[in-house]
């Protein structure tokens, strides 16, 4: 039972930070289906940094993980500029641009991973093996019955993500920048009339989105997978987008949706182990989050209120 909560939380939090990334971009009026690509490329940069640095710092040193997270955020931000360029500057169709980014990111990371591995170790492997992140339990909280599992065997990055999520909530809902950003997604003309630059706000939002998604990606690489390989593209980005849609483009509700996904995933897996089914049945249980996504979308999509101007390129001369 405890394992369900522990694993569920370590899956939900990277998902949450990616969902918040998507949310920032969409709230500013740029439809973002590129989260999947951002998280992959972010994780690539993080894993590359970790692979290059770990011989210098020494194996098993946990500092590498924090550096990797920073590099992943920077890498994701850098790659998200491509989405910004296509959507904001070149006024391309934002859905197409998202799909283009996702396809390109798979190819880019696959190619450069094997190129980098050839340069570093001489073998053209398509994965970076990462150190294992240490885990810790919060002393008192982990003793609480029932929900104690949430606080046992935590990854350090879970704390980082939780703090970051809170900061991002504050930035979105309590600051002048956040208000303008939300206005950009509803009525960009009003923002323009008020004297702020719609283009600039959207650029910042897309870059934030890339950075947060990158962090989500490297956290998955460190926790769930233990390496960086093409298996990072498992549709986590799309799950994050689905979570954002249930959350009705609000950070609080999105958090709940992510927790739900995480618990559904780990619960399904534990159920499979508890029922002592053979390993081939795990595939069926791995389907669970995707089926739940689709079912929940059936119930929640109708009533939703997406940002009004999302998907439209900003045109000053339009009303």
């Amino acid at each position: 039972m405890n394992k369900v909560f522990t694993d569920g939380l370590s899956f939900a939090l990277p998902l949450l930070i990616m969902a918040i990334g998507a949310l920032y971009s969409e709230k500013s009026g740029v439809t973002n289906l590129a989260v999947e690509g951002f998280q992959g490329v972010g994780a690539f940069f993080g894993a590359l940094a970790a692979t290059l640095l770990s011989p210098l710092i020494g194996p098993g040193n946990q500092v590498v993980i924090y550096i990797a997270i920073v590099c992943a955020a920077l890498g994701g931000a850098l790659f998200s500029c491509l989405h910004g360029l296509l959507c904001i500057r070149f006024r391309a169709n934002q859905v197409i641009s998202g799909v283009v980014i996702n396809i390109l990111s798979v190819a880019l990371t696959a190619f450069f991973t094997s190129a980098a591995n050839t340069a570093i170790s001489g073998s053209a492997s398509n994965r970076f093996v990462l150190d294992v992140s240490t885990r810790f339990s919060v002393p008192l909280l982990s003793q609480i019955p029932w929900i104690g599992g949430l606080f046992t065997d935590m990854y350090p990055f879970e704390i980082i993500i939780a703090v970051l999520a809170a900061v991002m909530w504050y930035l979105m809902n309590r600051t002048r920048f956040g208000m303008r950003l939300r206005a950009c997604g509803e009525n960009p003309q009003a923002v323009d009339a008020a004297g702020a630059s719609v283009t600039r706000i959207r650029w910042i939002a897309v870059i934030i989105s890339g950075a947060l998604s990158g962090i989500g990606g490297i956290c998955f690489a460190y926790s769930l997978l233990g390496n960086f390989s093409p298996s990072i593209y498992q549709g986590f980005g799309y799950l994050a987008i689905a979570a954002m849609i249930f959350g009705n483009w609000k950070i609080g509700a999105t958090t709940l949706a992510c927790l739900f996904f995480g618990l559904a995933k780990s619960g399904g897996l534990q159920l499979c182990i508890a029922a002592q089914l053979s390993s081939s049945y795990t595939d069926l249980f791995l389907m669970l989050p995707y089926i739940l996504t689709l079912l929940l979308l059936v119930f929640f999509s109708k009533k939703n209120h997406p940002p009004k101007a999302a998907g439209e390129p900003w045109d000053k001369s339009k009303r």
Binding site: L33, L82, L86, R89, F90, R91, A92, N93, V95, I96, S97, G98, V99, V100, I103, L104, V106, A107, L108, A110, F111, S114, A115, T118, A124, N126, Q234, G235, Y238, I241, A242, I245, S280, Y281, D283, L284, L286, M287, Y290, I291, T293, L294, L297, V298, S301, K302, N304
Partner: protein, 393 residues
């Protein structure tokens, strides 16, 4: 210089604008890929030549026994058939303003069902099995596509999200059944289907060379002509295009939007189903469990490069297939990782998606030239600056 640039702008806004946009995208792709290859210390021209050699368009230095240029060329056509079909599937949905990202999943599901139902049925003759395979692919793919269309108009679920979810579900569930019931212990793939059901005739001897005859290519060309006819000459085709351009306006003039979305998505899925059987019961004859065909995503590049025209995408499919099919030979002869094929396709997609912007900026350039021409001496400074700005874009 200025005149030449204006000439190109005219091409980008003229009658064959879409064609020139594609040509420009391909040129830019060659330049980018060339720079990339130079950066990792390989000769781009040698790489290009070996791509073409791998597809049987230029003779290789030496061939193994019983194979030749024709073998490679027919292998290439064998790959081209599902690719062309998959891109036609994308186009059919794209015209209605829908993005069928689930082509990969639809291909896998229909390939799997056709393999299990027909491919493992040893009693069927050639003449019965092949049409049945096509029919199964068409129906299974069509139902999957229609489901996505239904979710779209009934529950307002974005088709990109629902197709991706379906992709993963299909990949897991077919993987589960293959691993449980149909796995070949040697290859870890599904057991091979009967030759009678396969859409490719294997081991045909032509001039002493062992060749494969891709029957699916005929299907692909027929479907391309039919889709072209659908959008040019028929009422449903017009309605699909109208819905794609302005959903509200179509509703207002009395087009039943829900039915049109269902139709275009169902048709798109059905063609993807044909692509699936052409891939899994033609190009290959077994299924790798839990792997979605990359072709499902490459077909998006093909469709966008062909500016969503059925006939144009046939030609675009040739270009993308050259890189995908030639990658193995290129990789072994030049020594670049074969992932570069996907990278090149991605770059091509990137430039093709800027097509509208190219047209838009060309229009603006012509407009500016027309504005400036009457008084050349008015303000040379501003003219120069605007010019540079446009060039950067």
């Amino acid at each position: 210089m200025r005149k030449r640039r204006l000439l190109f702008s005219r091409l980008l806004t003229g009658q064959y604008a879409s064609l020139w946009v594609s040509v420009l995208a391909i040129l830019m792709m060659f330049v980018t890929a060339g720079i990339l290859l130079l950066a990792i210390g390989k000769d781009p021209l040698t790489a290009l030549r070996s791509f073409l050699q791998g597809c049987g368009m230029i003779p290789k230095e030496n061939y193994g026994g019983g194979s030749g240029m024709l073998t490679d060329l027919l292998d290439f056509l064998n790959y081209l058939a599902p690719m062309a079909l998959a891109s036609l599937a994308f186009i059919t949905a794209f015209k209605a303003g829908l993005f069928n990202i689930g082509i990969a999943g639809q291909m896998l599901l229909s390939g799997f069902v056709a393999t299990v139902l027909i491919g493992y049925n040893k009693g069927l003759s050639d003449a019965a099995a092949k049409p049945l395979v096509l029919l199964t692919g068409f129906v299974v793919g069509g139902l999957t596509g229609a489901l996505i269309g239904y979710l779209k108009y009934r529950f307002n679920i974005h088709e990109v999200v629902s197709t991706i979810m379906l992709n993963y579900m299909i990949s897991y569930i077919t993987g589960f059944f293959i691993n449980k019931n149909f796995v070949d212990m040697m290859t870890r793939n599904s057991t091979v289907c009967t030759p009678a059901s396969r859409l490719t005739l294997t081991n045909v001897m032509i001039g002493g060379m062992k060749c494969k005859i891709p029957l699916a290519l005929i299907v692909a060309i027929l479907v391309a002509l039919l889709v072209s006819f659908l959008f040019r000459k028929t009422v449903p085709g017009f309605e699909i295009k109208a819905v794609g351009q302005n959903r509200r306006c179509s509703e207002y003039i009395g087009i039943r939007v829900s039915r049109t979305i269902l139709l275009s998505m169902g048709l798109s899925g059905a063609i993807a189903g044909l692509a699936g059987v052409a891939y899994y019961l033609g190009y290959t004859n077994s299924i790798v469990p839990k792997a979605l065909p990359g072709m499902g995503y490459d077909s998006i590049s093909v469709a966008l490069l062909g500016s969503a025209s059925p006939i144009g995408s046939l030609f675009a499919a040739v270009i993308v297939s050259i890189f995908q099919q030639g990658a193995n030979y290129m990789s072994s002869s030049v020594g670049v990782a074969k992932e570069i094929a996907s990278l090149i396709t991605g770059i091509l997609l990137l430039f093709a998606s800027c097509g509208n912007y190219m047209k838009y900026s060309a229009e603006r350039r012509i407009q500016q030239a027309a504005d400036i021409l009457p008084d050349q001496n008015a303000a040379p400074g501003t003219k120069e600056r605007e010019d540079k700005g446009v060039e950067k874009q």
